[in-house]
Assembly symmetry: C3
Homo-oligomer: 183 residues x 3
Amino acid sequence: MGLNVSLSIFLMFLALCSAIPNKRKQYTPCKHLVLYFHDIIYNGNNAANATSAIVAAPEGANLTKLTGQFHFGNIVVFDDPITLDNNLRSKPVGRAQGFYIYDTKNTFTSWLGFTFILNSIDHEGTITFAGADPTLQKSRDISIIGGTGDFFMHRGIVTIMTDAFEGEVYFRLRVDIKLHECW
Amino acid sequence: MGLNVSLSIFLMFLALCSAIPNKRKQYTPCKHLVLYFHDIIYNGNNAANATSAIVAAPEGANLTKLTGQFHFGNIVVFDDPITLDNNLRSKPVGRAQGFYIYDTKNTFTSWLGFTFILNSIDHEGTITFAGADPTLQKSRDISIIGGTGDFFMHRGIVTIMTDAFEGEVYFRLRVDIKLHECW
Amino acid sequence: MGLNVSLSIFLMFLALCSAIPNKRKQYTPCKHLVLYFHDIIYNGNNAANATSAIVAAPEGANLTKLTGQFHFGNIVVFDDPITLDNNLRSKPVGRAQGFYIYDTKNTFTSWLGFTFILNSIDHEGTITFAGADPTLQKSRDISIIGGTGDFFMHRGIVTIMTDAFEGEVYFRLRVDIKLHECW
């Protein structure tokens, strides 16, 4: 019984300690994938290999470049290859399809709604994402709101990092997919 | 105890067998609805009975017909009647409202974000859907990401089938709504 | 024991009564927040303080005012301040970022996809919303489809009320955020 009391006190102390630096509980994902996807924005001259296009913009802006400092509102539709590593030429394991919206007047942020359609030996199914992306932060979290196939009814969090960025034409995102609800 | 051992071996064998043909678990929905909805795309001449309109397109495309082979990015906003059978003239039991995006350059696929607003004797509430729709496949699964009213906090999967398609003006979808999380 | 029987009968009676007027179960949220957000639509002359802009519209409509009676399909992108009270000048506790779509030809309804990015002493994290908003109803429910940070993996329902509306330039929404799945 003395051991039990000691253990209880130790656990209470542990709980107290961990509560101070970070009040949030930590969870281990039930599934975990790291993938990359590659976005090549249509600029008027690259129709053959562009994977995305600006399709909407506010008054006074146009559809082949991002709107200026005091405009925002570009909507971009994309169909991007997904790869296992950071090489655009690697064999795709699926496609990332959906849209993003540039939604701040004085910095780069976006709102994302898209789906990973995975079709490889390892994974067959879809994962759907939605949320705000403060693009200039090193890493940012978006919600995983649903899945089908191998990811039937799954939910979770994806941590996105910009892995490369070349002007306003190409960027590559590293996505760390942590599924916390599996079925 | 002999029975227990036999049962254990049998169950292990069963688990092994079922793992080979299909590793996925099968679930029975807690609620199940089959409905139809009808989309009439505005083509410049049918304002009175159109239920949807192209509202965004990439540079060089226009808003009254789908962009050509090497363009994509049309965004369509819709407010479509929902019926219990496949007849456009049947009394609607609700409205399907939201948008879809054509998001591939070399085939028909779309990304859907929309809500069923049901208002009938049987059902009162909303069901919200999001996900990728590879339109040319016979049946495809989309995530059900939330609900309200009778569908408070529900989640699930919807299997979509194109039930009819008339040129670029009318299509009808059969939606098999399988709710797997009910409250 | 007589008391227990009486209590049981009373509870059964209570359950029966409450079942007749409303068959739905009632749930108490695990977290509850009331917030306001403020939307100032760009009208061609208010670039400095506008927080949203029309970025897409059907054929024949334009991007600085809402489309007429027989058009619909405006897409509005926004980055709105969130406040604790109904005063636009109060110190923001975060931003509401995303989009809405006007999606009916003969009344005002919209489809919403957006995220609250909260960054205050009380809350740090995001809450993502999606669903249909029948704007003219006094209160309407939208689904909360995901969260991050303090709202990691949360889901719930938000009840939206239009708290003020000034022409086609300014509106303020009161949002009653009820989280029913907390982690």
